[in-house]
Amino acid sequence: MTENQDNVIELHDVTKVYRMGEIEVNALAGVSLTIRRGELTAIMGPSGSGKSTIMNIIGCLDVPTSGKYILDGEDVGMLSDDRLAGIRNRKVGFVFQTYNLLPRLSALTNVELPLQYGKGGGRKDRSFEALSKVGLADRVHHKPVELSGGQQQRVGIARALVKDPAILLADEPTGNLDTASSQEIMWIIQELNRQSGITVVIVTHEHDIAAHAARVVTMLDGKVLDDTRQEPVLVPEPGII
């Protein structure tokens, strides 16, 4: 088990046990998974398959019960809450199904949020740059309610990108969007992966979305059922961004 610089995510025999009163639930029953830098991976599986749990562990929102997790060369398996917060801040960019923007703040300030919890200046410039990347340079002062669902998700992606994370972790990123907006979001994600070489992990239950990934990991009952590399379906460039 040597650490490989090409590997961004290394899970070694990771288990997760939840206690629900008297019952113990084995959400993950020994998962080993390696994701290389620059890969676009989709994690699929029905509810209860453990895909949310593995996403929480990959995103450092939760820690494994046993096993080893190395993220970007750093062993993050058993860190304290505050250390994990620091790792999330530096290495993980989250994109949520429900966007999870703060309603009171402008797009620009929302994107600035991860920068507030880390070091470094030039926050306004950096968040403006991130918003430009997702084509929202002319919407920076809009509040979330003044934006469409697709635009809100693009703000979410800009927020995830602003710290140049090691991985972009998207949880059902198109789950609340119509087909056109979904295409738009997937195009952006694919472009970021192809142009900037960002490692992307998408958790989804939609085969259409998984088809855009170069690798599909299917989970069932807390284990990896299938791990396939495929030729990704390229999203056509949308007319208007």
Partner: protein
């Protein structure tokens, strides 16, 4: 996050719910205003009372009989003794009685004080017109009278009473002088008193008699040469009286200094100020509980925001600081507004009369500073619990919260 940024975020969050923030703020504003106003009233009253006493002259000692003891004119004279009591400048005995005064068809009740010529200087009195009681008046038990300003006004309206006659207990007294008005209500004012020779008062008004036939007095005012010698003068005066009264055990008189009266009074009134402050502080506490209530609701409502912030890398401390900052901004904001309002209230009610009570207030920067510090402390104290709750939320649970 920098401090400035934390405060800025707090203000934005509070501004999102202006009515709620305003109401929480109001609790603190009322509390701080109450503390400052009540303490200022307390302080003002203290200053008014000590002012009156100080006006009587701080270089005074009062000698009063105690128990079976009696003081006489002879005692008063003996106190002015360059050998046994060098620090005593003068002594002014007095006899007090209450009588009805009649002039023409007007009459009034007044305190009649029998005095000697020394009384004028000892009690810092000024004459508006006429003369004061002189030694021959005392020696001859003359029926002459000096009127206080209010008494003169009641009996003679605006006329100069000097040369007129006043009946006291059916005897005619010639008015020889009128005292300058001292103004202001309160106790101890001479405006409602009249002065006659001490011997006249003793023989005509006082029922008290002594075994020796000497004139008994109710109080001896002793004027001290130097305020610094006040303790020594108490010793000297006591020594002279013990000798005269042939005392071997317990004194049959007490000597009180004006200074000690003021000190005792200040102690009492300072307690009053603190007490008023504490009562008003309770309303500040209630305001603090209001802040805690608002913050708890706010934490619950913003569980998802807390989850988002934690996912973005906020540490416990960041979340804790954010909510503590909101509570503190509320309480300090309320404190500042309350201090301003308290200052305004203090000035607005100064000198106003409510019923029979005239308010005298004295605003003090210390009160404002104290109220501000206390309100900031209250914000911290009541803000910490909700903030700790917020900071302990697990990011996954918080993100799932609907």
């Amino acid at each position: 996050m920098s401090l400035l940024q934390t405060i800025n975020t707090a203000i934005i969050s509070l501004a999102a719910n202006k009515l709620r923030a305003g109401l929480a703020l109001l609790g603190i504003v009322i509390g701080v205003t109450a503390v400052i106003t009540l303490m200022s009233i307390g302080r003002g009253t203290t200053e008014q009372i000590t002012g009156i006493i100080q006006g009587l002259g701080t270089n005074l000692l009062f000698v009063q009989p105690e128990g079976e003891g009696q003081l006489t004119l002879g005692d008063a004279d003996a106190l002015v003794d360059p050998v046994y009591a060098p620090s005593v400048l003068a002594s002014a005995p007095e006899v007090r009685a209450f009588a009805t005064l009649v002039a023409g068809r007007d009459n009034t009740n007044a305190q009649v004080v029998g005095v000697t010529p020394e009384y004028l200087a000892a009690r810092n009195l000024d004459l508006a017109s006429g003369m004061f009681i002189m030694s021959p008046h005392v020696d001859n038990r003359d029926e002459v009278i000096v009127l206080g300003a209010n008494v003169a006004e009641q009996l003679f309206q605006n006329r100069d009473p000097v040369g007129e006659y006043v009946r006291v207990n059916a005897r005619r007294y010639r008015v020889i002088g009128l005292l300058e008005s001292q103004g202001g209500g309160g106790f101890g004012t001479f405006d409602t008193q009249v002065l006659i020779p001490i011997t006249t008062a003793y023989y005509r008004l006082s029922g008290e008699r002594t075994l020796t036939g000497d004139v008994a007095v109710s109080l001896i005012n002793v004027q001290v040469r130097d305020l610094d010698d006040i303790d020594q003068s108490i010793e000297e005066a006591s020594g002279v009286l013990r000798l005269r009264h042939r005392i071997t055990e317990e004194d049959d008189f007490t000597v009180i200094s004006q200074q000690s009266t003021i000190e005792t009074l200040e102690e009492t009134t300072n307690t009053l100020v603190v007490f008023l402050g504490i009562i008003a502080g309770i309303s500040l506490l209630v305001g603090g509980i209001g802040i805690m209530n608002i913050m708890l609701v706010s934490v619950t409502e913003r569980t998802r925001e807390i989850g988002i912030r934690k996912a973005m890398g906020a540490k416990r401390r960041d979340i804790l600081l954010q909510f503590v900052a909101e509570a503190t901004v509320l309480s300090i904001g309320g404190g500042l507004l309350g201090a301003g309002l308290g200052f305004w209230m203090t000035n607005a009610i100064d000198g106003r009369t409510l019923g029979t009570q005239t308010f005298n207030t004295s605003f003090s920067n210390e009160f404002a500073a104290l109220a501000l510090i206390v309100s900031a402390g209250i914000g911290l104290f009541f803000g910490i619990y909700p903030a700790v709750r917020a900071s302990r939320l697990h990011p996954i649970d918080a993100l799932r919260y609907e």
